[in-house]
Symmetry: C2
Subunit: 333 residues, 2 copies
């Protein structure tokens, strides 16, 4: 378990924060206030706050560019972070989540319409700052980002659809994880290189690296959603079971054909809310079905596949990408 943040995260935050803040400062006052709160830069009353996310995606963008050039594609890094936060703002409304990064979600503070508009605005801004950037590859980068955005939306649509369905296959569940999480990380891992004019082969390899890494990332998230430390995820333990989320380990267990899987199916089909005892039993069934172990191994496999995809390039950048990947996946497992 790594507890120290990789230096690339700090560097990325320092590099990208000014661009992000400048982008958000373009918004109308109402929408700007919601975004500044959401990013953790201000409190609900508008007073400054020093918070903010982990800058994981910006770090990916900057590192992937460093592997081919000495230039920092800050606009691309900020654009990816804007899209990520667009999706957080909208997902929190759709899922009714009340807590994010240990604070009340934006919609609980400003209302749903304001939070939706803030998300819309961040999505529009992301395209805007990319296309304004002085790079001949700005349009190609914007196309990569908007395609990833559309995939992310498809993932969220599938996730919502799963909630309404009794039976979900493991394959479609993995596809949903790809769409919802890995597509944007694949874009984050390659758009920087694309932006600074890297050869197509390099961009493709970095994209594949990000896809595998994104899958590993989501699988870890799914495990944290069952047994994770609320200090890390900001969510209470067993929260995914409480909402009967069809995450990868759960779907693996449900479709395992084991007695434990059958019992989990019964619990998920129960009309009443699950009691605390039943929640612990459900988690135990995921273990017994071998699904926690399978998810952990699949995660390792994806991480190894990611490393294999990394292009040969500047050694330091590749090492930092590897370090970042390890950090992401070793969180509290």
């Amino acid at each position: 378990m790594t507890t120290v943040l990789p230096p690339a995260l700090h560097t990325a935050r320092e590099a990208v924060d000014p661009a992000l803040r400048a982008a958000v400062a373009r918004l109308d006052p109402d929408t700007r206030r919601v975004c500044e709160y959401h990013f953790g830069w201000s409190n609900a009353d508008g007073t400054p706050d020093g918070g903010g996310g982990k800058a994981l995606r910006p770090a990916m963008v900057l590192l992937s560019a460093r592997s081919v050039a000495s230039e920092d594609p800050v606009a691309a890094a900020a654009a990816v972070e804007l899209v990520h936060n667009f999706s957080l703002l909208h997902d929190d409304v759709m899922d009714g989540d009340t807590s994010r990064r240990h604070r009340p979600t934006a919609w609980t503070v400003f209302g749903k319409p304001a939070a939706l508009l803030a998300g819309d605005a961040l999505l529009a801004l992301s395209t805007e700052i990319l296309l304004e950037a002085p790079s001949r590859q700005a349009a190609a980068a914007a196309l990569s980002l908007t395609t990833a955005t559309r995939t992310l939306i498809a993932g969220q649509a599938a996730d919502l659809d799963f909630e309404r369905r009794a039976a979900v296959g493991l394959d479609e569940c993995l596809r949903m994880a790809h769409d919802k999480t890995a597509a944007l990380l694949a874009c984050a891992s390659s758009i920087g290189a694309l932006f600074v004019g890297a050869p197509r082969e390099t961009v493709t390899r970095l994209h594949a690296f990000g896809t595998e890494l994104g899958m590993a990332f989501q699988l870890v998230d799914d495990l944290l959603g069952l047994w994770g430390d609320p200090e890390v995820t900001g969510k209470p333990v067993l929260s995914d079971l409480r909402t009967r989320k069809k995450s990868v380990p759960v779907v693996h267990a449900l479709s395992s054909g084991t007695a434990a899987g059958e019992r989990l199916l019964q619990l998920y089909a129960q009309a009443e809310p699950l009691t605390e005892d039943q929640l612990h039993e459900a988690a135990e069934m995921v273990q017994r079905a071998g699904s926690a172990e399978w998810t952990r191994l699949e995660c390792e496999r994806r991480l190894a596949a990611a490393h294999e995809r990394l292009p040969d390039g500047q050694r330091a950048a590749t090492e930092s990408l590897t370090e970042l990947a390890e950090f992401i996946v070793r969180r509290k497992l």
Copy 2:
């Protein structure tokens, strides 16, 4: 009063519909179903329906390009229509509107999360199809569209803000009308020319034409929201008063300093819902304050200003733009 649709609308629909349908067909099945319903191409159960909007914005895009080239910037026309429909889908959720184009709104049929995702998807698609288009000006066009989108979002944010405030000035109300309606029409009126490589001066004039026309359009809409024919607007008469919307004629009356304005202020401040009699009284106060007349004259002034901005160019295209502008503004006034 014009009742016959200008031929440009029919032409635009024919030209743009296939591109729009192909774009929407790229979406994941869940989101696609919502969009196809929203566009009026299918019923709630997925069976085909022949409906669809008026293709006003696509017609603007195609005509503005015709004034400088013989090329049809279909991708740009489809992209603007996608953004327009993104905003309709989201606005209907935020405003809680249950009827659009004489049918139940998408969120009432598919739920709010699905309608929000459909809007998100259309916004992402709009950038995607523009940037994929084989035009050297695709990136400039996409930037114009995304900037207009951001302005539109600011307008909706102001509109929501006005609902919570007692006092709204006429200037900020006109600014809101500009942001919410005129910005996208200005983009629609100029993006086609931009896309086919028209000189900057032409693009600027067409943009200014669209801004004035958009203002006229919104002012007509505001009048229709008070006295309009539900056959035309799809909204019941007096609907804007029922929801105490701060539209331009209402704000003009409220800030008129007249006795009628004072009475309207009392009615708008009333805690209980307005009775039918009170609704008619409120409409009468807007008349007596001279605000209906002022709005009508302002609308005429904007329309005249729009015509003055039209660049010299192919006579037929300019005439069609003029005809379209007249059609938009003469609806049932």
